[in-house]
Symmetry: C2
Subunit: 251 residues, 2 copies
């Protein structure tokens, strides 16, 4: 006669350096963040664990606060679960917070918006010390022009022009709540974008296009036409993943 | 009849991420920054090149502005030398500046002082994104106590207590011009130290000892006795290399 075990719903906040991973989502051809977390959690609770993230991050993309949830019958206190799983984490992944969530909490379905951060390193000479976490663009960028270009993306639009080809997502309409660009110390430019959801490569395609506006290759108002064309080839290149961080998920 | 070739003296400023190197100095058992630079410069000027740094940095230690010099009969303009050598550099090393120096300029003998920077990450939970460039200390550190402890190191002292055992340097007297500690965003503490020279592991042994003062393991005034003992075992542990950066060399 076993005791009646309550199913708990656990919410975790995860930070990771994505350099060495094939992204968040489990896949057959390489190691992923989700897999590392699931295997560690499974060892601690002695049962297979399925971890659901707020969304995927691509290969090489980092996260400051990825949110995920998993269900378990374990009776271990939250702080022991946290310590136990973290004791099995490699140096480039850590659970920053772990707590019991409401029964119905779902990391993906309940997310209202996400904020991504992108770092550009805009100096003539590249920097080995920023290399892992930024995209080096040596030509001087005009941040005001990039801001003007970004303004056309604010609001509800069909973002097909900024979406990777060949995905299985049909609805390309997303709402961008805000974009901000800021010159920082040491030649860094930070780019923040908040939206109700993101298509595959959407942030990186936007960054690539804004760099074209900042370098003078296109005019800021061209972004309006790029958006209207609903054609991926109209926009700029895909910025590399190294500069991209999932910063926050809002519920 | 060859033309008379002038020997030029070239000064370079180098930035590197030392994570994957066995330090600055050439050695038989692993790849070093000096070796990578010498091989690349040698290919560009078509002659073996000997590069003299301002001093060694240990395995895993980084540099923002390491200074070095080399002599060459090459007639390539400085900007071409810079571009040429940098085109052969891996992602974790770059020459930030290259210029003709005075005939007698010597990167090591002429250095008047050096500034090292050390980052501590002082939050309960470690951070994968700071891991490469800081030492994680989870217990809360009292920066005021660390500052008080550091005051005893300012000035001219015999630093035997903070010097790695077994070195071939006999004179352990160095002059510390200044030390500053600062709480930064995201749980970081920066530590800056300027001195006329540094013994092997001196910065890292000082940081290890100041962390003991900040955690309460020793009292700030104990540093006076540690210094006076001229005994390495009196001081704290050697802080890991990952948090250490050679920031500036003054001439």
């Amino acid at each position: 006669m076993g005791a009646v075990l309550l199913m708990r719903n656990i919410r975790i906040i995860v930070e990771y350096d994505g350099t060495c991973y094939h992204g968040w989502q489990r896949q057959p051809n390489g190691i992923t963040i989700q897999q590392v977390l699931e295997e560690a959690a499974g060892r601690i609770v002695n049962r297979p664990v399925k971890i659901v993230g707020s969304g995927r991050t691509d290969a090489g993309v980092h996260a400051l606060n990825q949110v995920a949830h998993f269900q378990t019958e374990s009776t271990l206190p939250a702080c022991n679960l946290l310590r136990g799983i973290n004791s099995l984490m490699p140096a480039d992944i850590v659970i920053k917070d772990l707590a019991d969530a409401e029964e119905g909490f779902h990391a993906r379905y309940d997310a209202r918006s996400k904020i991504y951060l992108y770092y550009l390193h805009n100096e003539l000479i590249r920097s080995p010390l920023f290399d892992r976490y930024s995209w080096h663009v040596s030509g001087r960028l005009d941040v005001d022009r990039m801001r003007k270009a970004a303004e056309y993306l604010r609001g509800t639009h069909d973002f097909s022009s900024f979406c990777a080809a060949g995905g299985d997502v049909i609805d390309h309409v997303r709402k961008v709540f805000g974009i901000s660009l800021c010159r920082r110390a040491h030649g860094l430019i930070s780019f923040l974008i908040e939206a109700d959801g993101f298509l595959r490569y959407m942030v990186r395609n936007i960054v690539g296009t804004l760099v074209d506006a900042g370098s003078g290759k296109i005019n800021p108002e061209d972004v309006r036409d790029i958006l209207a064309s609903q054609n991926r080839t109209a926009a700029g290149i895909t910025a590399p993943p190294r500069g991209l961080f999932l910063k926050e998920v809002k519920y």
